[in-house]
């Protein structure tokens, strides 16, 4: 186990170096001097999609966000999501991926995922596809592979329904699957967990939108044996980006 971890760390380093190198290559190649401002400047974006407190006994704090920097075609993405209570971190899922636009609406991604809960952590190699499906469903599917032979699939989709130009209702659905049990991380094989949400936000400006909502989460199979969840919670939160 230890050797795997060390190996992972080493490969993580190599991977990061490679990504940075490729990005710098892209920077230098795409520099062009012409009439208009460079059409493809180096940009970044930080989006905190969910930053909320649940109305349960633990007053669970939930976050989910992403950050990218890069160009039209090539970007480096960080995804992070998790839950914490007054006692500290419950669980988190974090990803660092190189993302490349491969189709008009779709990005292919490759990188590493790092899961952590109060007692354990796990690093995965990851490939994912992210983009906008027909009918404007914001979608992401990630395939995770760990040295212990466990393979995970995490799928999430989100839709934005405009009630007015500024009042936006967002249903979302997320499901996780695994091929093996991992007692420490409290994940079981098969369908592990499902979470559905409905959030209503008001965009005072595009970048700043408080919201209210409700989520329903449930664990299944062996995950349920480790950590039985079947609960519905109301929530308040803030969505912001810059």
């Amino acid at each position: 186990m230890r050797s795997i971890k060390i190996h992972c760390k080493k490969s993580l380093n190599d991977f990061c170096k490679k990504i940075l190198l490729s990005i710098f290559t892209v920077v230098s190649v795409s520099q062009s001097t012409f009439a208009a401002e460079g059409d493809d400047p180096l940009l970044s974006m930080v989006v905190m999609d969910k930053f909320e407190v649940l109305n349960n006994n633990e007053k669970t704090r939930v976050w989910e966000g992403s950050a990218w920097f890069g160009y039209d075609i090539n970007k480096l993405y960080i995804y992070t999501a998790g839950e914490a209570t007054a006692d500290g971190l419950e669980s988190s899922q974090n990803e660092l991926v190189y993302s490349r636009a491969i189709a008009p609406f779709w990005d292919a991604q490759i990188g590493l995922a790092y899961d952590k809960n109060a007692d354990a952590s796990k690093t995965w190699a990851e490939v994912a596809i992210a983009g906008l499906a027909p009918y404007y469903f914001e979608t992401r599917a990630a395939l995770l592979i760990n040295g212990d032979g466990n393979v995970g699939l995490r799928v999430d989709a989100e839709y934005e329904a405009l009630i007015t130009q500024k009042l936006i209702l967002t249903p979302s659905l997320e499901a996780d699957f695994y091929t093996k049990d991992d007692a420490k991380l409290e994940i079981g094989s098969g369908l592990s967990s499902v979470e559905a949400g409905l959030r209503l936000r008001y965009e005072f400006v595009r970048e700043f939108a408080p919201y209210i909502g409700v989520t329903w989460g449930r664990t299944f199979g062996n995950t349920r044996n480790y950590n039985a969840i079947n609960e519905t919670n109301f929530l308040v939160g803030l969505r912001f980006w810059f």
């Binding site: 012409f34 009439a35 493809d40 400047p41 940009l43 075609i73 636009a101 009918y135």
Partner: protein, 580 residues
């Protein structure tokens, strides 16, 4: 948006009343031909510098020519050799491009193509012979400086008497201004391409649609757009949310004023110097007689309204019959704001703005779909059942443009890519010269279309084209990327034009936006239905989902720019043309 514009304007005018001198308001451009904002002669001194302005009620730093927005109107005489000393006091490289002027390539002012730009602190001297007359304009071709104020009008007096008469002559220069930095705007568009669009479909508008055309039709309609991940409210990338629309540098509250005496004929030289805004211009109560397009005389045509694309110019003559103030009303194509001035017998008498037209929606015609096949079930080539709002009976009628379609010239194939750069392809693009365009169809007014444009002089003797090239205007609205033939400028090879040839260029617009395409150095002789009356233009609007053709006499050796004139599209939707 309307209210916001008003409030902003109000703030600005109260500042004016307090005596605060700001660039935008300190000037009145009632008499451009004799005004100090007008420079006349053979030698000109222009300085590009930073200027603090107050256009919206807040101060902002503009880049200006001789300290003013718009820059001074330059009056030249056809046949003269003009000398223009342009000093750049910005911290960055700058340039001036003389838009629509036929001149040697080294004088064209496009950094990286004509010359290296004017470095900070230096002066560049342009000198060329003026071989044309009419209404043109100039602007910076560096970075986003055009958005922040580096533009002005050019009036070239003709050698020979013009074939129409007028008593007064005014430049009406339209533009758009934002207190936001252009780089910030561009960043926001890349982060979220519909950032400035607040006229999207909502549940509320869906209910209205259901009331209007029934549930299944409304549902199918929306289903189709959503399935394609396209937004039928996507008319302009940047709107009145951030823009204040200007007329000769005045906002709708401070108002540009053009004075007249009852019965006089007034020539208005309309110039669209906006970075991104198409304007629909009318003067309620008056017919406008259009006498020139892009500086060139056309057969006069009387209209109530005209759409002026970015970088186009039109000369119109109006004759007010009553002693009242008329609104020169230029609403933005997506109806989020307007520029406005008064045509008035007295500078204290101002016109009231008319109501803006409803917010337009794109139709399947604007997607370049075959409306003939739409009727037949499943014959669309797109995965959609039916139920789209039919555009109009007029455009359903047999196109009289079959003759233009039938023209066959040897086609030179160009590299083409269909990848990340393109989200849409016009399945069945049509010549739509008699289509006034989205938002102007069947509005009860006589609206100018390209089909109305006929050269004042015969073009019978013009050569027939030797060959043809086809350029697809492509883009990915979701990622805010723009290109030609699916290849952006940075990845493209120059287009090769052969010196001495007559070239036909056909554009196919594979996007949902109007693109004003501007060829430098040579005229674009637009086919508008009569080969004997090809109209000379420098900038040609290619409507969404449509095609359009023009002919170019390749008579200017050297390197030239060829691009979409929407400033935030230009980086990608651009080609270098090499004539050899």
């Amino acid at each position: 948006m309307q209210r916001r514009t008003f409030v902003k304007g109000l703030a600005a005018s109260s500042l004016l009343a307090l005596g605060t001198t700001t660039v935008a308001q300190a000037r009145s451009r009632t008499m451009p031909i004799s005004n100090k904002d007008t420079l006349t002669g053979k030698e000109f001194f222009l300085t590009i510098d930073y200027t603090t302005v107050n256009i919206t009620g807040d101060t902002a730093v503009a880049t200006t020519v001789n300290g003013q927005i718009s820059g001074p109107t330059l009056v030249w005489q056809e046949g003269d050799t003009v000398t223009l000393h342009v000093t750049n006091k910005l911290k960055k490289s700058s340039s001036i491009h003389w838009h629509g002027i036929i001149l040697p390539p080294a004088m064209d002012g496009v950094p990286g193509i004509s010359f290296n730009g004017i470095p900070s602190g230096e002066t560049f001297t342009y000198r060329f012979k003026v071989r044309q007359h009419g209404t043109y304009w100039y602007h910076s071709h560096s970075g986003f400086q055009e958005q922040t104020g580096v533009y002005g009008a050019i009036v070239i007096k003709p050698k020979r008497k013009e074939p129409f008469r007028y008593n007064k002559d005014y430049v009406v220069q339209l533009s758009d201004w934002s207190d936001e930095k252009p780089t910030t705007i561009y960043k926001k568009l890349k982060q979220m391409s519909d950032y400035y669009n607040f006229s999207q479909r909502t549940i509320g508008t869906f209910i209205d649609e259901v009331k209007e055309k029934g549930f299944s039709k409304a549902f199918n309609d929306r289903k189709m757009w959503n399935q394609m991940r396209m937004n039928d409210g996507d008319i302009s990338d940047i709107t009145g949310y951030t823009y204040t629309h200007l007329m000769n540098g005045q906002n709708p509250s401070t108002q540009f004023k053009a004075l007249f005496k009852k019965g006089q004929k007034i020539r208005l030289r309309l110039v669209n110097s906006a970075a991104m805004t198409f304007f629909d211009v009318r003067i309620p109560g008056l017919k406008m007689t259009v006498v020139a397009a892009d500086g060139n005389h056309i057969k006069p045509v009387k209209v109530d309204e005209l759409r002026i694309g970015v970088a186009e110019t039109y000369d119109v003559i109006v004759q007010p019959k009553r002693n009242k103030a008329y609104a020169i009303f230029a609403q933005s194509i997506e109806r989020s704001g307007y520029a406005m001035g008064s045509l008035t017998p007295s500078s204290t008498l101002l016109a009231r703005p008319p109501k803006m037209d409803p917010i337009p929606k794109l139709t399947m015609v604007d997607m370049g779909m075959d409306m003939g096949a739409m009727g037949k079930k499943g014959g669309t080539g797109m995965k959609c059942s039916s139920g789209m709002a039919m555009p109009s009976k007029k455009s359903m009628k047999k196109y009289k443009w079959a003759a233009m379609d039938a023209q066959k010239y040897p086609i030179t194939k160009l590299p083409m890519a269909r990848g990340v750069q393109t989200t849409m392809m016009a399945m069945s693009p049509k010549y739509r010269l008699d289509d006034p365009g989205v938002g102007l169809r069947h509005n009860g007014r006589k609206v100018l279309t390209y089909a109305d444009l006929k050269n004042r002089y015969s073009t019978k003797r013009d050569r027939k084209p030797d060959r043809e090239i086809v350029l697809h205007l492509t883009g990915n609205m979701e990622r805010y990327m723009w290109s030609i033939n699916g290849i952006k400028y940075a990845d493209s090879k120059p287009l090769q034009f052969h010196y001495g040839e007559r070239l036909r260029i056909t554009f196919i617009n594979d996007t949902m936006m109007n693109h004003p395409m501007h060829l430098h150095g040579m005229w674009s002789d637009l086919e508008t239905g009569d080969d004997n009356r090809l109209v000379r233009k420098h900038t040609v609007i290619v409507q969404p989902g449509s095609k359009i053709s023009y002919r170019v006499t390749v008579d200017a050796k050297g390197s030239w720019a060829y691009h979409c004139h929407l400033l935030y599209h230009m980086g990608g939707m651009f080609r270098k043309v090499v004539v050899s």
